[in-house]
Amino acid sequence: MQDFSSAFGLAFSLIIHADADLIEIIGLSLRVSLSAVLFAALIGFPLGAALAVTRFPGQQVLTVMLNSLMGLPPVVVGLLVYMALSRAGPLGWLNLLYTPGAMVVAQAILVTPIIAALTRQIIEDMHKEYDEQFRSLCIPTHRVITALIWDARYSLLTVTLAGFGRAIAEVGAVIIVGGNIDHLTRVMTTAIALETSKGDLALALALGFILLVLALSINAGVYGLRSSAKRLAYA
């Protein structure tokens, strides 16, 4: 319990004094996870939308596979990406291991199925609504997909947020492919793991609080955006 109360105070003072290391770690966490989510969205949105709109044999199977990939364990992803990016592995020549780039790759792999599967569900629902009208207007499939993605933009924002939440909170993948190197690949979650292993539970908790506050603020922002979107009947 003593750790708990000292954690609050510690978190506060770290923020107030704009601790340089803390700022660096937060900055890297955001850059890595936001980049990962960006790539995941670039792949996941059209993938999910195409799956929702087109008909082909094996579609059910692919959908089920995608939904189950949502539960990929981060540490497994980390291990696989490590083996791929290792000098002993096929992509070692990229020199990505132990850089933030590797962390982005690992988190992108983790988040893409989530974004694709949720996008598929959202677009499928919207497609049911628009399908008759689009068919009457003879809209070609590729335009249907882009139109649905744009019209679903606010719901897809929530999907992106879900992906971001997964990315910023995971530690298993980034610690293996990033190496938790000081001033290079140390993010909030790996810093928490490190401080815990040093027995500095108060500091670990403090970092945890800050991470929570960060996630909460982003969520609140998106919620506000969605509320105004609903008022305009855009959501």
């Binding site: 850059r31 890595v32 936001l34 980049s35 960006l38 290792s86 000098r87 002993a88 592995g89 070692g92 020199n95 990505l96 291991l97 132990y98 850089t99 933030p100 780039g101 982005v104 190496g179 938790n180 190197i181 000081d182 290079l184 490190l194 815990t196 292993s197 040093k198 027995g199 500095d200 539970l201 108060a202």
Partner: protein, 274 residues
Amino acid sequence: MKSLTRKFLIAVSLAILGVTSAIAAESIVVQSTTSTQNSGLYGYLLPMFKKDTGITVNVVAVGTGQAIKNAKNCDGDVLFVHAKPSEEKFVAEGYGVSRSDVMYNDFIFVGPPADPAGIAGGKNAVEALEKIAASKAKFASRGDNSGTHKKEKALWKQAGIDPTAGSGGWYLETGSGMGATLNAAVGSGAYTMTDRATWISFKNKGDYSIQVEGDDILFNQYGIILVNPDKCPAVKVEPANKFIDWVLSKRGQAAIASYKLGGQQLFFPNAPMM
């Protein structure tokens, strides 16, 4: 909409560049054990080294077993661990160029004030383990092929005891780093063996104290090895050698000796005279 797309793409590229732009300055990767990291030694030494040479040292602190495996995969330039037999094997098999002693400290046994096995104040490590096994008192092991774990296994062997028979019962194999194992030990009232540096810098000691120390057998030697460029062409030989030479030099050794925590010296330099 077109200008929006363009702005978006620019933002994306900047984000990518910002994230993947590696440090332009020279850098090497050191695969290391965790005690040198957790005790703060690297935080003390590396800035000094950088000032002297301009080289950034990126430490991947994962525990000896994983560090050795990573080095065999060519994912590092230097190996810096504390498991002499494994290190010598690493060199013998051609993965490393040569091995040098760097510094030493010692292992200690820590335990709860209740001391169920009655080992407190003892000066004999093997005897302590015999008492623990006999009373089936809880003991937390690294269980992860680290230098510490290998030393622990060697001690059990000398005692002629196989503790894994009690695995999951009184013998708790955490499969984790020293810090996590200490957390588990303190949290479950178990004894454990740790290196002194990690213990001194550990912040979650609870009511634990050092119960066995000073046995010669608990000597803990650290060694440094250059990863073999013949096996791993990507090794940055020049900066890596600069690091190794610096650590073994008078300056580096003096720096190691001067690192203190709470007034206590954590590592004792013992590199062979150049």
